[in-house]
């Protein structure tokens, strides 16, 4: 037989399309030609496939072998088509039966000796394969744990080309593995390396962090270098509710395409923490890639925490680019070879020094920055970005008494998580009718119309607004935070005290007194 077809998956972002690998062998000058918009990494597949087949004992005929990746107009990339190309050629040569390949999806990279190597993006590929109606998926054995997370498709693992050929000739078996769907250690906030109780003498900041976790509020932290901003931010994921299975799958799919998935023990329900360096480019934060779109830090932090340390040091266009994802919970990445949409619902934590030198307002230290320099530093964070930050924490240098172990009120992550979880449940129940789950998501108009805490509680805030001392956005933020505080304390509606506390937690409109 001179024509055979096998199937694989081409990923565009998280979205996979079934690709038919059509192989035709005809009597012409010997050649091995790959068409159908392959990129450089995919073009090299011909060399790998020829060597792998040869080393597995299948020498190519001295004829022209034409491989077409259909649909031919969609750009394709990566090494995951190797297996489908090799099997397609072998089917066209008659080594295996082409009819066996119907409804089967082949994913894997070939080593020159015929071994099957792991590839990126197996999870989203299999989700797409299942949705496209394919019944069987053959994946590299090392990717088996990841592939098994997808229900409704028969997943087989293979370690070499020969093993797969034998299976197709019904002369051997592939690996089936029943793996654990969820990493049970990630289900509960078991003692971890990071715990909130390790933060000493920062009761105010810890309290603010718990409020932020409970309402899903974006926060800013201002404090001198070494005051513990990073330490606090790193512990935010430990007090966030565990992810649901669906949320966890969304996160794992992103991690799968960038090679960050660690799924040997099953899905991790831990919210993720991403802390890109301030030298990061727009592509690194938002998403990019050479020709095909790749997710950035905002998507890797999906359902988790994105921590920008030294926020004013980031490029202004990076900070501005954050706004779209903060607004819509997703990012669209456009590259020459197509565009892709990645999820990006993260909780933003911005940290900044009080001034470029870091000593402004720190007792016993002298700030060397001029007023202008300090003003410019703070102004790098634009108004629209700051509008998104519901809570502002001033982090104080740790006190002597705290160092001496005299600090009281140590809250463990487990205790905080319990409070956060019950507060989130209260909020979700209340907001359910509007289609929201967290206070931070509430748009101002809906908030004011339906969740007015009553005249008594907000009279003072109203006066402040009427006097022009609070902006309407600032007012909304106070209201949102007040609701979260009320949820944390089990109150049915915010009281005046909750509103006052919210005013303090929200902080001034400007970040560093720069206006």
């Amino acid at each position: 037989m001179a024509l055979a077809i096998s199937h694989s998956i081409s990923l565009q972002g998280l979205d996979g399309k079934v690709v038919s690998v059509e192989v035709d062998i005809s009597a012409q000058l010997p050649a091995f030609v790959l068409v159908g918009l392959p990129d450089a990494s995919l073009s090299e597949a011909t060399a790998r496939v020829r060597a792998a087949c040869g080393n597995s004992g299948f020498n190519f005929p001295s004829q022209k072998i034409l491989v077409n990746l259909s649909p031919a107009s969609v750009p394709k990339s990566g090494s995951s088509f190797d297996l489908a190309i090799a099997i397609g050629v072998l089917a066209a040569m008659g080594v295996v039966s082409a009819t066996e390949l119907a409804g089967m999806c082949l994913i894997g990279e070939l080593a020159l000796d015929g071994k099957v190597q792991p590839v990126l993006g197996v999870l989203p590929m299999l989700l797409s394969a299942r949705n496209a109606g394919l019944r069987i998926a053959v994946v590299p054995e090392s990717n088996l744990a990841e592939a098994n997370l997808v229900d409704g498709i028969d997943v087989l693992g293979c370690s070499s080309l020969l093993q797969l050929v034998n299976y197709l000739k019904s002369e051997g078996q592939l690996v089936r593995q029943v793996s654990q769907p969820v990493d049970s250690a990630s289900r509960n906030a078991a003692p971890q390396l990071l715990d909130l109780s390790q933060v000493v003498g920062q009761d105010e900041a810890v309290g603010g962090l718990i409020v932020a976790a409970a309402g899903g509020h974006h926060i800013s932290m201002i404090g001198a270098p070494g005051s513990g901003k990073t330490m606090l931010a790193e512990r935010l994921p430990t007090i966030l509710p565990r992810l649901s299975i669906e949320e966890s799958l969304e996160v794992a799919a992103v991690e799968s395409i960038v090679g960050m998935a660690r799924l040997e023990r099953g899905l991790s329900l831990q919210p993720r923490f991403q802390a890109p360096h301030h030298s990061a480019s727009v592509a690194a934060i938002i998403g990019g890639g050479n020709s095909l779109p790749k997710p950035g830090a905002v998507s890797k932090a999906h359902h988790g925490v994105l921590f920008l340390d030294e926020a004013p040091e980031f490029q202004v266009n990076v900070l501005e680019a954050l706004r779209e994802s903060l607004e819509s919970g997703q990012v669209q990445v456009n590259r020459s070879a197509g565009s892709a949409t990645f999820p990006a619902q993260f909780q933003l934590v911005l940290a900044a020094n009080p001034c470029p030198c870091g000593n402004y307002g720190v007792i016993g230290k002298d700030c060397r920055c001029g007023v202008l320099r300090r003003r410019r530093y703070g102004a790098r964070l634009s108004g629209p970005l700051r509008d998104r930050l519901d809570i502002r924490l001033d982090i104080q240098p740790i006190s002597v008494s705290a160092v001496a172990g005299l600090a009281t009120g140590v809250t463990t992550s487990a205790q905080a998580l319990e409070k956060v979880t019950s507060a989130r449940m209260a909020a979700a129940e209340r907001l359910n009718a509007w289609g929201y789950t967290r206070n931070a998501q509430m748009p101002g108009p809906i908030l004011k119309a339906n969740f007015n805490p009553g005249r008594k509680a907000i009279a003072q805030l109203d006066r402040h607004l009427a006097a022009g001392k609070t902006s309407m956005r600032g007012y909304d933020r106070c209201l949102r935070v007040a609701w979260t505080i009320a949820d944390l304390e089990g109150a049915t509606s915010p009281t005046a005290e909750h509103v006052f506390q919210a005013v303090t937690l929200r902080g001034p409109d400007q970040l560093m007194g720069e206006e």
Partner: protein, 407 residues
């Protein structure tokens, strides 16, 4: 001589401000007298101050002739009255009894007391301790009794400003009146106005909307609220603010009573602001009353070709030698009342937490944790106190620091 029965006196006791030390019979006598005269009857006022309400009422009940009355008042006082009114005392007394005695009716006084009780209001006689200090400046023209509906504490020793203006205001006047009310509320100043349509209504409404305190002074009785278009507003004022009238509850308004009511508005405010006034606006009479009792008066300027403001401009020009000023911006209101920085920093109305936190402040900016440590509060208490102080304008947050305001 006993003029009143025990049950009548008990009825009066029930409508006195709780805790009042006043004697029911003198108050009831004042009520009876208030039915006899029209507002601003200074002759009655002078007799009243000389004899007390009970003795004056007794004299009227006995129908004393001028000789008997003269004897009770004493030769010197009679002379004083003759000088003041440039009339013979016999003529003065005859005229007065002719005016008053036809109205003399004990039942009417008792009925009025019952009516104010039914409305849920209170009354204050001119010799009661609770009688507003401001009204004493009206001397003999002060009302024998004032009838109250709402929160009587607004008449205590708190800053008050009278804001009045034309009933046919335009947008400019409305917005200025609202701004002035906002500044008043911010500085905990009670607004006083006449409950009429136009500027008056805006003042009351804006004050209430910002949860401030407002007083409306009625020209008629509290049982006959006027104007009916403002009925809802007036009822709201009765709930959270205060309605004041010098007329007994069942008395209807009349033109004369409107003009005399204006003297009460002027006297209840520590200063009077006229927002907009046409050439003949009644608001100008309030300003005149205020000047006559030496209260500061401020005029809000308008375009010089505006009929809405011409009264303000003319009044300002005509009274340059008196205490009349231009209110150049709403924020100038506290200084018009002589309120300096001390008043703004006043801790009235602050809770215990806020006071403790405020005490911890020095002149320099402080961070939250410093306040917390110095005031000895918990983290949460500090956050609550600082939030409250920021909203009340006592401190301001500048970046990482809080600064005590001493403008």
């Amino acid at each position: 001589m006993t003029l009143f029965s025990k049950s009548e006196l008990e009825a009066v006791s029930s409508v006195l401000i709780s805790g009042s030390q006043s004697k029911p019979e003198t108050v009831l006598a004042s009520v009876a007298l208030s039915h006899l005269c029209e507002p601003g009857d200074t002759f009655m006022g002078r007799l009243f101050e000389k004899m007390g309400s009970l003795a004056l009422l007794a004299a009227l009940v006995e129908r004393l002739d001028e000789a008997g009355m003269g004897e009770r008042l004493g030769q010197d006082f009679v002379q004083e009255l003759e000088d003041a009114y440039e009339q013979q005392f016999s003529q003065l007394w005859t005229n007065a009894t002719e005016r008053w005695c036809p109205r003399l009716s004990k039942n009417q006084a008792i009925e009025s007391v019952d009516q104010i009780a039914a409305l849920g209001g209170k009354l204050v006689g001119w010799n009661c301790e609770e009688y507003p200090q401001g009204l004493n400046d009206l001397d003999a023209g002060k009302p024998p009794v004032i009838w109250l509906l709402g929160n009587p504490e607004l008449l205590a020793d708190v800053p008050r400003v009278s804001v009045v203006g034309t009933r046919s205001s335009n947008r400019y006047g409305t917005s200025v009146a609202a701004d002035i009310s906002a500044v008043a509320v911010q500085n905990r100043i009670v607004t006083v106005s006449g409950g009429a349509i136009g500027i008056d209504a805006v003042v009351h409404q804006s004050t209430l909307a910002l949860e401030g305190d407002t007083i409306a002074v009625m020209a008629g009785g509290l049982g006959k609220l006027y104007p009916s278009t403002n009925l809802q507003l007036l009822r709201r004022i009765a709930q959270t603010g205060l309605l004041v009238a010098e007329q007994p509850p069942a008395v209807s308004v009349s033109k004369w009573r409107f003009l005399m009511r204006n003297r009460l508005i002027a006297a209840l405010g520590d200063a009077t602001v006229v927002v907009q006034a046409g050439r003949t606006s009644g608001a100008l009479s309030t300003a005149k009353h205020a000047l006559s009792i030496h209260r500061p008066v401020a005029m809000v300027p308008g375009p010089i070709d505006s009929a809405f403001s011409v009264g303000c401009h003319d009044f300002l020009n005509a009274n340059l030698e008196h205490d009349v000023q231009l209110l150049a911006r709403p924020q100038a209101l506290p200084s018009l009342l002589g309120m300096g920085s001390e008043q703004i920093i006043a801790t009235a109305g602050l809770g215990a937490l806020e006071k403790r936190a405020l005490d911890a402040f020095s002149d320099q900016g402080m961070q939250a944790w410093e306040v917390q440590r110095l005031a000895g509060l918990t983290v949460k208490e500090t956050q609550i106190a600082l939030g409250s102080l920021v909203l009340s304008g006592h401190v301001e947050r500048e970046g990482t620091h809080y600064v005590k305001l001493t403008k």
